[in-house]
């Protein structure tokens, strides 16, 4: 099984470990990526809040690249990239005037139907059976809070993948690793996103509430599929401690890292050691360890 791969800027910087772990995990599952050659910015935040034309053109440039490189499905692991690509594609393909305008800007023709996928769709497509079959450890003492954030499954009318308010796909994937999932309330709430830069106070409050609700509902680890969420929930915990002195550090993993652990890789291989909040996975403590 081969998929096109659009890493996006985060995967090369703040979310390097997401990129590392994702590539390793899919390799273990017998899947490979064809990285888009010459990919560029998806147009997130700065472009789409200031100039629609620019935002559309940036995203559609990458879609057009996929077309010319013979790739018909593209995995965008970052939730923001995914959202930008899917939305721009929808806008462009549903409005002939936008399509004509963007095609002219890019000197390209959008003829193919390129399927853009997030990581949840990717693992669903690969098949949960593959994860279960390749599992080295059953992570049964992990109580996982699956955090979707705002962009991963929204807007549902366009992403047409999971329920926007009560999604279930990440839970299904996590349960395939043998871990338990907890029922909690902040699964699709906002983490504060790009306010991380200018209004850190907002991000700290919002992210603190998310972590607290996960803990209150019995989680001992959180899993995310978005570099921005991870930044706010992992990196900002230090600042959180200054505002809320009683705050206890809480580990936040990428979905690919959790799957990697169950496939038998260690923290270093998966890049978990790059996180601000340590997460030590001690295989000895875990029950039902398959050799």
């Amino acid at each position: 099984m081969r998929f096109g791969y659009y890493p996006g800027c985060s995967q090369t910087g703040t979310a390097k470990e997401y990129d590392i772990s994702l590539r390793k995990v899919i390799g273990k599952l017998g899947v490979s990526f064809d990285e888009l050659d010459d990919w560029s910015c998806c147009g997130a935040t700065s472009a789409h809040v200031t100039n629609h034309k620019l935002a559309n053109a940036l995203a559609m440039r990458n879609i057009a690249l996929a077309g010319t490189q013979g790739i018909d499905n593209v995995v965008a692991p970052c939730a923001a990239c995914y959202n930008r690509l899917v939305l721009s594609q929808y806008e462009t393909m549903h409005h002939p005037e936008i399509k004509a305008e963007t095609e002219e800007l890019l000197s390209a023709k959008f003829t193919q139907d390129i399927k853009v996928m997030n990581v949840l769709e990717l693992f669903m497509k690969i098949g949960l059976g593959k994860i279960i079959d390749n599992r080295k450890h059953e992570l049964s003492d992990l109580n996982v809070a699956c955090y979707y954030g705002c962009l991963l499954v929204r807007p549902a009318e366009i992403t047409k993948f999971d329920d926007a308010e009560q999604p279930v796909s990440m839970e299904k994937i996590v349960e395939a690793t043998g871990a338990k999932t907890v029922d909690w309330n902040y699964r699709v709430e906002c983490c504060g996103a790009a306010h991380s830069i200018a209004r850190r106070d907002i991000v700290i409050d919002l992210s603190k509430k998310i972590i607290d609700d996960a803990v209150d509902n019995g989680a001992n680890v959180m899993v995310v599929a978005c570099p921005m969420c991870h930044t706010n929930l992992d990196m900002r915990q230090r600042a959180m401690k200054r505002v809320y002195p009683g705050h206890k550090e809480f580990p936040v993993l990428y979905l690919s890292e959790l799957i990697g652990l169950s496939l038998g890789m260690n923290e270093k291989e998966l890049g978990i050691d790059l996180h601000y909040i340590d997460f030590k996975y001690d295989g000895n403590i875990l029950k039902n360890t398959v050799a």
Binding site: D163, A164, E165, Q166, N185, E189, D216
Partner: protein
């Protein structure tokens, strides 16, 4: 033939772009035209007098009026002609306003066109034949579909005027949603106290035949002459024998087997039940899906305790056919629910409010039952999950309504009022409780309505917050309601014990099916369409079918009742004479030419065409031809255009007349 031509200026409406005197003058010289004149207002009294006088003076046989659309004044000019002794179908209208002056600005060209239009009308009127109105008999009996307050009111009005009524209700009892309500706004009088006397009156009325637990499955015929087929579902109780003692219900071993839908699923009922104590008729129904007898052939406890031997397990559905003159549709509404919907459903659920998984997030009708003295909590405000008295209630308005993203763009109209009532009832029963209302706008148009809302806010200290609720979730037995106060501009979070959603009013699932059965149009939501939104609000576009209550659009009780009385009087207007007159513009088959292909039967949108046998002198059928029921035919002309052998003619618009018009152009 002597023809008179009358050209109207319509004030300046026509004369601004059409040179009316020139048109009139031109027509003077046309063959057959005896007299031609123009005038400022032909429809006015002097204008009509001018027509009548000209008919007498010049001994005219037919007239052409160049004026506004025939939709406006055709009847006026025909009546004027009739009073001067001319057949009304020898009057032709040339539409010089909508078809000419209003849509053009070049006077020269518009005048030329006006002349052409009048010339066409002259050629047609030369070939017009005098026609007489068709008379059809009327069955003076009304079918009322739906036994809620609208259906009850319509049935009583018609019956009290002395006409027969067949009232069909799908549920085991009449009463509808109104019987579920605790108190009514804006007076806070008890809903059942004002409704049940009407229900009893219906039951006792000698002119009303009440068919409960029944459904209309087929409607044939036309105004004054409908034939309705009604399925009477098997109650498994002999209605003539049952005394309504209720012993069977108390002894039924399946005590709490099924949800009680009258209590909005907040309570249970056994397999044999009456929906509520004041049910009319007070005759139980056996629910086959729950009854032990239908499961394993055992039990029969009800048979043992019934000393009148009224239980009849073998009873089957029966079909009744009734001759009907007019139909009043009053099937009401249901509430939208917030549950997760299928992907392709026209509605979307509220995942942000938990898709209905929280037991203490209820809808308006459920709160009515909780607040009702006859309800599952005997009128004490207790929440469904643990029966505790809620100390903090959040009411949310516009759940579904006015939210196109959930599939409902309209306002449900009654929610602002009943939410204020709910909050008030709660405060009257739980004095130390807090009530919050999230609203978008308060729409309290109606007599004493806004005063009622103010009373909730000012006297009962209900806290109104303008804003939407983004999320509800459960935390330690409380429901965290997160919303926004858009006036203060701050996020709001309330830990409520109970949340009441004012969910949208939507049509019943089978409303479109019923509309198709009766042959009436409905809108994209499934509400039945009125013939005209302002001037014909209780008539459907199908003659003889009237609408009442929330099946047409969301409505409160007084509006439903007014509409029901209006529909009843519309039906009674039909019954004021023994025969109905209708326009003779209907199609007729030339039986000698008809080849019996019946393409016409396939294309007729009104089902007016039947198969007729032609027999020889010995009574042997040698040919089948099309036959057009003059009572049903609406004169649309589809059959005429379809007929291969050109053997159908539409009276008033036959081929000769139409071709003469075209040739004159």
């Amino acid at each position: 033939m002597k023809i008179g031509v009358f050209i109207c200026h319509c004030g300046e409406n026509i004369s601004r772009t059409v040179d009316c005197p020139r048109v009139a003058h031109f027509c003077e010289g046309l063959p057959g035209v005896e007299y031609s004149i123009d005038y400022k207002y032909m429809c006015s009294d002097p204008g009509q007098k001018m027509i009548k006088d000209a008919i007498h003076e010049h001994k005219l046989d037919a007239i052409v009026v160049g004026s506004c659309s025939p939709n406006m004044h055709e009847r006026t000019f025909r009546n004027a002609a009739v009073s001067a002794g001319i057949n009304p179908f020898l009057v032709e209208i040339a539409n010089l306003r909508e078809h000419c002056s209003w849509v053009h600005d070049d006077v020269e060209a518009a005048t030329e066109k006006a002349i052409e239009l009048v010339r066409m009308a002259i050629e047609k009127v030369k070939r017009d034949k005098p026609l007489t109105k068709i008379k059809v008999p009327v069955t003076k009996r009304v079918l009322v579909i739906g036994g809620g307050i609208a259906g009850i009111q319509a049935a009583l009005d018609v019956a009290n005027a002395g006409y027969e009524v067949v009232l069909v209700e799908r549920e085991p009892s009449i009463g509808g949603h109104m019987s579920q309500l605790s108190e009514t706004f804006p007076t806070l009088d008890c809903s059942q106290c004002i409704l049940t006397p009407r229900m009893v009156e219906v039951y006792q009325h000698p002119k009303i035949k009440l068919l409960t637990y029944s459904e209309v499955v087929k409607v044939e015929g036309f105004i004054g002459n409908f034939k309705a087929t009604i399925k009477k579902k098997a109650r498994h109780i002999n209605e003539d024998l049952c005394s309504g003692c209720g012993l069977c219900i108390t002894k039924c071993p399946t005590k709490k087997k099924a949800y009680n839908s009258f209590e909005e699923d907040l309570a249970f009922r056994p397999a044999i039940y009456v929906p509520f104590p004041q049910a009319v008729p007070n005759i139980p129904v056996i629910d086959e899906t729950v009854c032990m007898y239908y499961k394993n052939g055992k039990c029969g406890m009800c048979v043992k305790v019934c000393d009148r031997e009224a239980i009849d397990f073998e009873q089957k559905d029966t079909m009744l056919v009734a001759d009907i003159g007019a139909i009043i549709v009053a099937t009401g509404y249901k509430l939208y629910n917030i549950d997760k919907k299928t992907f392709d459903s026209k509605y979307k659920g509220y995942g942000e409010y938990g898709y209905g998984k929280y037991r203490d997030v209820i809808d308006g009708l459920q709160f009515e039952r909780i607040a009702s003295a006859s309800g599952p909590t005997a009128g004490e405000i207790k929440r469904p999950s643990d029966g505790k008295e809620p100390k903090k209630i959040v009411f949310i308005q516009c759940v579904g309504s006015r939210d196109p993203s959930k599939g409902i763009s309209y306002c449900s109209k009654i929610c602002c009022m009943y939410t204020a009532k709910h909050a008030m009832l709660y405060k009257h029963k739980v004095h130390d409780g807090e009530a919050y209302v999230f609203y978008m706008d308060i729409r309290a148009g109606g007599k004493m309505y806004d005063e009622f809302v103010r009373r909730a806010i000012e006297e009962d200290q209900v806290k109104y917050i303008r804003g939407r609720v983004s999320r509800i979730y459960e935390e330690n037995g409380k429901y965290i309601v997160k919303g926004e106060d858009t006036i203060a501009g701050v996020p709001v979070e309330i830990d409520a014990d109970l949340v009441v959603l004012a969910t949208a009013m939507i049509p019943h699932d089978n409303a479109p099916t019923l509309a198709q059965t009766i042959g009436i149009p409905y809108d994209r939501h499934g509400f039945f369409n009125e013939a005209h939104p302002k001037l014909r609000p209780v008539e459907s576009t199908t003659a003889g079918v009237f609408l009442a209550g929330a099946c047409q659009s969301p409505k409160d009780i007084p509006e439903s009742v007014s509409m029901a009385s209006a529909a009843a009087s519309k039906a009674m207007i039909l019954f004021a004479s023994d025969t109905l007159e209708r326009e003779p513009v209907v199609a007729k088959v030339n039986e000698d030419l008809c080849a019996g292909c019946f393409y016409c039967k396939k294309v007729c949108p009104f089902g007016a065409i039947e198969v007729k046998d032609i027999t020889d002198v010995n009574g042997i059928v040698y040919k089948e031809v099309a036959y057009i029921n003059q009572g049903v035919c609406q004169g649309c002309g589809t059959c005429t255009a379809t007929c291969l052998s050109k053997s159908i003619e539409l009276a008033g618009f036959n081929n000769e007349e139409i071709f003469a018009e075209i040739a004159a152009l």
